[in-house]
């Protein structure tokens, strides 16, 4: 039985939905009662045996869980240090961890009697996952996607339409993920009673960060048990990329109470912190236009990239899934209490990691996940061979081929 219920040792948000000082609810009044309704429904269902059984059944028979753990032998050998293991979320149906959350939330929507589902998407992975869950469970689905992202991720737009979803182009603001979230929230404000909004990461107003975390924590629970069964011990470090932070919080949760296990989040360093073109919310920055500070963004209090005047910054990452100004509030809390540490990998480092994993392990990772791989590549050579790094390989890279092809071909030509 997949336990969605709280464990005694893990932090849960307080009554106001806060993890320490972060999270909470900062939304227009129209949504406040709707969020109350959602929180109540979720409180009831998270401990409901029938609901949990239905979710678990779909994870096993439809999503393809449990996902395996792979020892990256050749990569570890190549680096000459710690052993790298990969949690293979890339092998799930729809190609990424997003389906764990989308399926859980659409199931929740159905149990709440909602008649319509909306979602936002950046790279398209959460949109595809939500469209998939809606096709499976028979609910109409509208996905908001920035017009710029639609251009960059055409195959996923087509995928969503194949799955019966309506994809709506967002032309406001920067026409990327944050604007798609704004538009989805505006839709929800206009249809508060019949519509369920499936947020794609551990983000947004309470109770979303908790809901998403709970559905994603299956990754960490599985990984912990698999490490013990396959390797006979826990990893020394768990490494995951952090955009909104759902795959990271999902795998971290399995190890939160294992104090000896270091938890490492990897943000998108883009073209470098000094350039101001990145999405590393936790990186020290003196840049006047792009610095990570505590703010209020898309319904939550969290660390958000912004300028000195409190306007939300334009972010950049080679991976659309990490290209977002805010971070899930629980990560801010975990960082503050010293339970998790956060670093970043640049576009360049992610590409190199992408390349290396393809060549040495026969695995094409998502560019998002390649950031976590890059951090493992950085750390492994500095550590003894009996150390273990567990990397959450959150998605597969087929979606990124159009992005990667021109860049790597250029590099290969340059290298000769």
């Amino acid at each position: 039985m997949v336990a969605l219920s709280r464990t005694t040792q893990t932090p849960t948000p307080d009554a106001a939905g806060k993890f320490g000082a972060y999270g909470g609810r900062f939304v227009p009044e129209t949504l406040m009662p709707v969020l109350d309704e959602l929180a109540e429904a979720y409180e009831e269902l998270r401990d409901d045996a029938t609901f949990r059984a239905e979710y678990e059944h779909l994870l096993h028979t439809y999503v393809g869980r449990p996902s395996p753990i792979t020892h990256a032998r050749r990569l570890s050998e190549h680096l000459g240090g710690a052993q790298i293991y990969l949690k293979r979320e890339d092998l799930l149906h729809t190609g990424a961890h997003k389906i764990n959350n989308a399926l859980g939330q659409v199931l929740l929507a159905k149990r709440m009697g909602k008649r319509r589902v909306i979602a936002e998407t950046g790279a398209g992975q959460h949109g595809v996952a939500t469209a998939t869950a809606c096709a499976l469970l028979g609910l109409p689905c509208v996905v908001y996607m920035g017009a710029v992202d639609m251009q960059r991720q055409q195959p996923n737009v087509f995928r969503m339409r194949l799955l019966g979803a309506e994809v709506r182009a967002v032309e406001s603001g920067t026409r990327t993920l944050k604007d798609a979230v704004n538009e989805a929230i505006r839709d929800w404000v206009a249809h508060p009673h019949d519509t369920y909004y499936v947020i794609g990461s551990a983000l947004g107003p309470h109770p979303y960060p908790t809901i998403c975390r709970d559905f994603q924590s299956v990754i960490g629970r599985e990984a912990r048990a698999q490490m013990l069964a396959q390797v006979g011990r826990l990893p020394d470090q768990v490494i995951a990329c952090v955009g909104g932070g759902s795959n990271a919080i999902g795998i971290f949760y399995g190890f939160l109470n294992d104090e000896r296990v270091r938890l490492v989040g990897v943000e998108a360093g883009g073209r470098g912190i000094e350039s101001g073109e990145h999405a590393a919310r936790f990186a020290e920055s003196a840049h006047p236009q792009v610095a990570g500070r505590v703010g209020i963004f898309q319904g939550m209090k969290t660390v958000v990239l912004q300028n000195a005047d409190g306007q939300i910054a334009n972010t950049h990452s080679i991976s659309a899934g990490l290209d977002y100004a805010g971070v899930g509030p629980e990560h801010v809390y975990l960082r503050e209490i010293g339970r998790a540490e956060y670093t970043y990998a640049t576009d360049e480092e992610a590409l190199q990691a992408f390349n290396l994993l393809c060549r040495l392990e026969g695995i094409i990772p998502a560019l998002e996940s390649a950031h976590a791989v890059a951090e493992a590549i950085r750390r492994a050579p500095t550590l003894p061979r009996d150390q273990i790094l567990l990397v959450n390989l959150s998605g597969r890279g087929d979606k990124d081929l159009n992005t990667v092809m021109p860049l790597l071909e250029e590099e290969n030509n340059g290298v000769g």
Binding site: A16, G24, R25, F26, V27, P28, E29, T30, L31, M32, P33, V34, D36, S172, G173, K178, D179, N182, I185, R186, V189, A190, H191, P192, H193, R293, V294, G295, I296, F297, Q298, G299, V304, Q306, A308, D309, G310, Q311, I312
Partner: protein, 264 residues
């Protein structure tokens, strides 16, 4: 100044048997000097109060028209500090009606909540509206507003439960902002169904605080109808749409506000 001036504006309208008219304009739109002239024109046209929009990059509660105005103003470099300077200039140039600054929570937080209230008050503004700061999260700002004799407006929505209406009513100072429809700001052809009953429901908890209807109020007929059961109306997107891209936005705004005043 402050709460008293706001109360006086509503009392005057009530004495004249009409709703108080509160037009909204985005500061810095289409540019800073023009927005100042628009504010002056709104006052000259007989606005009872004026809502000053403080642009934000991600205005969640706003529809395309206000989003566009925010975007244009930000592109042209508007800042919170510049907005305060515009309000101060409006005051110095003789605008006497109460002004309320409507801005989202993040620029306020970046500025510093206490200083935000103090500096708006110093600029001559009478109250604040923060659409993404529910009463539960407004404790610090409430204290800062009280210290500077600023109103802090609270919202009700069609989805609000009785308990939430009570919460908004008990925390609101200046007036209660009644969001007329479930949705974002934007002009609408028709008033929301059941609006009268909803407004009266809020009024029952208002303890005499003025109730003001906004979102979708676009025409003189709307003002007339809502005026029968509410203390005031807010007109935002319809005004921006009418005047924002006019050759002379101040003249167009003046004329639009006049057409809304069915009592003239």
């Amino acid at each position: 100044m402050g709460l008293e001036a706001i109360a006086a504006a509503f009392a005057r309208a009530r004495a004249e048997g009409r709703p108080a008219l509160m037009p909204y304009w985005s500061l810095g739109y289409p540019d800073a000097p023009t927005s100042l002239r628009v504010i002056q024109a709104l006052a000259e046209a007989g606005a009872d109060l004026i809502e000053l929009g403080v642009p934000f990059s991600d205005p969640l509660a706003d529809g395309p028209i206000i989003q566009h105005a925010n975007h244009v103003a930000l592109t042209r470099g508007i800042t919170v500090r510049a907005c305060m300077a515009l309000a101060a200039q409006a005051r110095q140039s003789g605008v006497r009606v109460p002004m309320l600054a409507m801005g989202y929570a993040n620029p306020m937080l970046a500025y510093g909540e206490a200083r935000y209230a103090a500096d708006w008050a110093a600029a001559g503004v009478d109250g604040l509206i923060v659409p993404d700061l529910p009463p539960e999260e407004a404790t610090t700002l409430e204290a800062a507003c009280a210290a500077h004799d600023l109103a802090l407006v609270q919202f009700t929505a069609p989805t609000s439960t009785e308990a939430r209406i009570q919460l908004a009513a008990s925390h609101a100072t200046g007036f209660i902002y009644i969001v007329s429809v479930a949705g974002v700001t934007g002009p609408r052809e028709q008033l929301a169904e059941g609006l009268r009953d909803y407004v009266l429901r809020v009024k029952a908890y208002a303890n005499g605080k003025p109730v003001v209807v906004g979102f979708g109020i676009s025409k003189p007929e709307h003002v007339r109808e809502v005026g029968q059961f509410a203390d005031g109306v807010i007109v935002a997107s319809a005004l921006l749409r009418h005047a924002g891209e006019a050759a002379d936005p101040a003249a167009a705004a003046f004329e639009f506000v006049r057409t809304l005043q069915y009592w003239r």
